[in-house]
Amino acid sequence: MSPNTLPFSDETRFFTPMAWLRTLVRVTDLWLFGVVLALLAISWTMLVSAGPERVESLQSHIALALSLMLLTAVIPLRHIVRISPMLYLLGVLLLIAVALFGDVSKGARRWLDIGVARIQPSELMKLAVPLALAWYFQQRENALRAHDFLIAFVLLGIPVGLIAMQPDLGTALLVTAAGLYVIFFAGLSWKLIIPAMLLAAGGLLAIIGFGDILCAPEFDWVVLHEYQKQRICTLLDPSQDPLGRGFHVIQSTIAIGSGGMWGKGWLQGTQTHLAFIPERHTDFIFSVLCEEFGFVGVLVLIALYVLLIGRGMTITITATTFAGRLLAGAVTMIFFTYAFVNMGMVSGILPVVGVPLPFISYGGTSLVSLCIAVGLLMNIRHHSRLIAQG
């Protein structure tokens, strides 16, 4: 790896604005950037309909997120990988602090008051865990053995366990997914993957098949909290409690279905504007899109996600370092997981877990971390290209 090929290497050019601009142009992947801009345009359009009072703050979120995306793209990847174990350790310490001193809200201990702001360390782990795992596997490149995977599972298990105890099942699942993607790309044997997937599928079928018994009020699920059990049970039969827990699912399904092929038109969604859709500017914004832009709008959105993920996969395959490959693959699959879980829950095929629709749902933290992830992808791509040229 020649130091000349890195953007930070030539210090005379580093401080000139033109050099900055040239670097930016070089690192920016137009495919990713274009898709993200298109998604952000949709986000803005939907927010005008679902929560016009928040449009202004969305604009500043976008400005911040895009800046951080480009910043992430230009910081040399190896620096990022190098600090990732530190990030991971910091995250775990914060999670322990949350468990000890955290603020309780809505029955869960998730927030940590650090004086200047309240932070949610579990958010940090969504990127810190795959980064740390990629770092670990990078260390063991070409000498991977079975016990390395065991260590990886332990590294993953610690933060997931802490998050699940808060309890925050949604985030725990997402962090698990991020970690598993890294482990999967690192080459975990199919002999382990296939039985695990069969076990998960079996469990799912059992829940669906024996839903009546499992959802009986006296049946205790032991590992899950009562409200988490309710979420899964509501999915199995939303009509059981139409004005309570099932209300969200029923009303969002009505919104989606009544959109039809072409939708009711922008700002014309009755379910949206008469407040039948809960959380319509955040987790349920997908049903607003379905209602106002119909099936055609859905196809456009899914096409954009496919483009995003496809581009991510291309970057993954062409990445030249092991850590880059693992990281790019995991980040790409995280986009997919967010998008699929959110759309799945809003359209009633997955339980309601608090997962935002990537780039569309209103929410600064989520948008910033997603854009940092895109920045990572761009970074990996740029890095690979330099090596290929070199």
Partner: protein, 636 residues
């Protein structure tokens, strides 16, 4: 030592895994697209309908109920506006606490609470439910001043029903009341559910019940867009409510009050009919009650007082209580004799002092009835023996057959419900009435009792007045009715009720004239002459006494038996005799002889109807004299 794979191998494996991951992504998105296609394209109609259903609510606009006026345009049932306190349940989080706090500002009784919760259960969640009605101005002010503390609580002006003549019209107009489960069932049966959405009241008795369809009107609807909180956001369209039709009665409320006053606190009933139309001029049943108490649901205490009273004020004696007609049946018996040819007007009978049948001998001590008795004399002086003989000659079947068209023993079809059939006795009736074979047989002696209006005979005052109206009308019979016109609320058009005769009973004019002349002599010379002394018009009539208590051959002495067992007093009559404008039947419960109690009431009513208020006052002075004179010569 483990063999580590070649980097190229690792790369190839990695690419395979990336391909698998991409495939997984595409499959998952495929499932999602299929799901959304199902929801948005396949099931679009279903969800579209549900979204519209969510969005829109039909709010009923309750129509104003029709007004009821008497023959001279005086309001008997009307609407007035009053403030109610209502709660919109969709805007109230803790209902119990809200009501508790409200009750510190205005009186909310336990009864109001119970009714509120009952109604709340049946109402849609975005519809306001009243908790207090008839707020005073002070209460309104107190609530309005604290309105900001009670989201979802509103003061509304609503229309209420009022019966200004209250106690005088209870048995005619009846009353409305809150719709209960039984009413709801009936509404559903009649497919009126939509029209009663939002309606709280329905006619429960009297004209309010029988003309419910006319009075209620057509409910209007406002289509509003509502949000998830149930708040109406904007009106999309509305259909005006169509107010109920007004009723114009044949009844004269002043005449009604005169009649009631004439009863002077005694129990009884009076029905006055215009024979030319069948229109009812007065329909009295005493004692009465205040129908206004029933509208909002009567208190248990008041209800007890009414239902436990030995005087039975809730009973509509005019149409529901059947009494033996006593001698008021004789004019109809006389008609039967004449029409069947068993008797002729000029046919005299001697030796009328006693009558023997099956070993019993019946006596008649009245001097005029001893000998030389014909139809005319028998009616004028109410001779019993003459009618024993006539009944025996006719036989029970012929009597029943002749009486049937006059609606004796059948409902007259008056336009309020709750009418009794009465009893027109016949062997057939007796077979149906009794179960044991030994009770089912008809005895000859029973025919004799029927001949003088006693025995099984039992008719309502309405039936007596109605039959007499048919008689003075020479057989032309109208269905008795209280409503003259239904006034269309939209066009103002008057739709007459019962304008055409119901049937015509074939009667020979000469026979009718014979009976009516004899009845005119009843008030001139006969049993009612004291009551009609000094009348400036000629009237026809017949007194009667209905036995309450069988004396088994002992002489009747009013003084010796308790008041409740005394005979009922009857009078039926018409005036003016030449061209009757009013026909009436009066019954005074336990009033004794008809000439004493019932006939003077009839006189006062006729005076008022024919002469107006002045005539009635003039007659009152002669009444006092008459009262002093009557007890001397009681006649049956």
């Amino acid at each position: 030592m483990t063999e580590f794979p070649h980097p190229g191998q690792i790369l190839a494996r990695f690419r395979r895994r990336a391909t698998v991951a991409m495939l997984f992504v595409l499959i998952c998105f495929g499932v999602l697209v299929a799901r959304l296609y199902f929801l948005q394209v396949v099931r679009f109609d279903h969800y579209h309908a549900r979204a519209e259903g969510n969005r829109m609510a039909l709010l009923p606009i309750v129509p104003n109920r029709g007004v009821i006026r008497d023959a001279k345009g005086r309001e008997l049932a009307r609407n007035y506006s009053a403030y109610t306190l209502e709660i919109n349940p969709s805007l109230v989080k803790n209902m119990d606490a809200t009501i508790e706090r409200l009750s510190r500002i205005v009186t909310i009784e336990e009864r109001d609470r119970r009714r509120f919760y009952r109604q709340l259960k049946d109402s849609k969640y975005f519809e306001s439910v009243p908790i207090r009605t008839h707020l005073t101005d002070e209460e309104v002010a107190r609530i309005v001043a604290r309105r900001y503390r009670f989201p979802g609580v509103e003061v509304q002006a609503r229309l209420f029903r009022d019966y200004p003549e209250g106690i005088h019209t209870a048995h005619v107009i009846g009353y409305i009341g809150r719709i209960n489960d039984r009413d709801l069932e009936k509404i559903n049966e009649n497919d009126d559910t939509a029209n009663y959405r939002g309606s709280e009241y329905i006619g429960k008795s009297g004209l309010e019940e029988s003309y419910e369809k006319e009075l209620h009107g057509t409910t209007g609807f406002e289509q509003v867009e509502i949000n998830a909180g149930g708040r109406a956001m904007r009106s999309l369209s509305s259909t005006e409510a169509q107010p109920g039709n007004d009723l114009e009665l044949t009844l004269d409320i002043e005449l009604q009050k005169v009649a009631e006053d004439a009863f002077a606190g005694r129990r009884g009933a009076l029905v006055a009919i215009d024979p030319k139309t069948g229109g009812i001029l007065a329909l009295v049943s005493l004692p009465s009650f205040d129908p206004n108490e029933f509208i909002e649901g009567i208190s248990t205490q008041s209800w007890r007082a009414l239902s436990d009273s030995p005087d039975h004020p809730l009973l509509n004696r005019a149409i529901y209580s059947a009494y033996p007609p006593g001698s008021t049946f004789k004019p109809f018996m006389a008609m039967a004799g004449l029409e069947t040819g068993r008797r002729a007007p000029g046919q005299y009978f001697s030796r009328q002092g006693y009558f023997s049948f099956a070993g019993h001998t019946y006596y008649d001590h009245k001097s005029k009835c001893q000998t030389g008795v014909n139809i005319h004399i028998s009616l004028t002086y109410s001779c019993n023996i003459f009618y024993y003989q006539l009944a025996q000659d006719l036989g029970i079947d012929a009597i029943a057959k002749f009486m049937r068209p006059f609606d004796f023993g059948h409902r007259t079809g008056i336009d309020i419900s709750g009418e009794a059939e009465g009893v027109l006795p016949s062997p057939e009736w007796k077979r149906k009435r009794f179960k044991k074979p030994e009770q089912q047989a008809w005895f000859g002696g029973e025919t004799l009792s029927v001949g003088i209006g006693q025995g099984y005979n039992a008719y309502t005052p309405l039936q007596m007045a109605n039959a007499l109206a048919a008689l003075v009308n020479y057989g032309v019979m109208y269905r008795p009715h209280l409503v003259k016109n239904i006034i269309d609320s939209r066009t103002g058009e008057r739709r007459p009720v019962e304008a055409e005769p119901m049937r015509t009973i074939k009667l020979r004019k000469r026979n009718v004239t014979t009976v009516l002349k004899a009845m005119a002599d009843v008030t001139r010379l006969g049993t009612a002459k004291t009551a009609f002394r000094g009348a400036t018009y000629s009237a026809g009539g017949k007194t009667g006494t209905a036995q309450v208590f069988s004396l088994h051959g002992q002489r009747y002495s009013a003084a010796r038996i308790s008041e409740r067992l005394r005979d009922h007093s009857w009078f039926i009559g018409f005036a003016p005799a030449q061209d009757p404008q009013i026909v009436l039947a009066v019954l005074v419960e336990n009033g004794g002889f008809g000439s004493v109690s019932a006939a003077p009431i009839a006189r006062q009513v006729m005076d008022y109807h024919l002469l107006g208020p002045q005539g009635e006052e003039a007659a009152e002075s002669t009444d006092a004299e008459a009262d002093a004179a009557t007890t001397a010569s009681p006649a049956q």
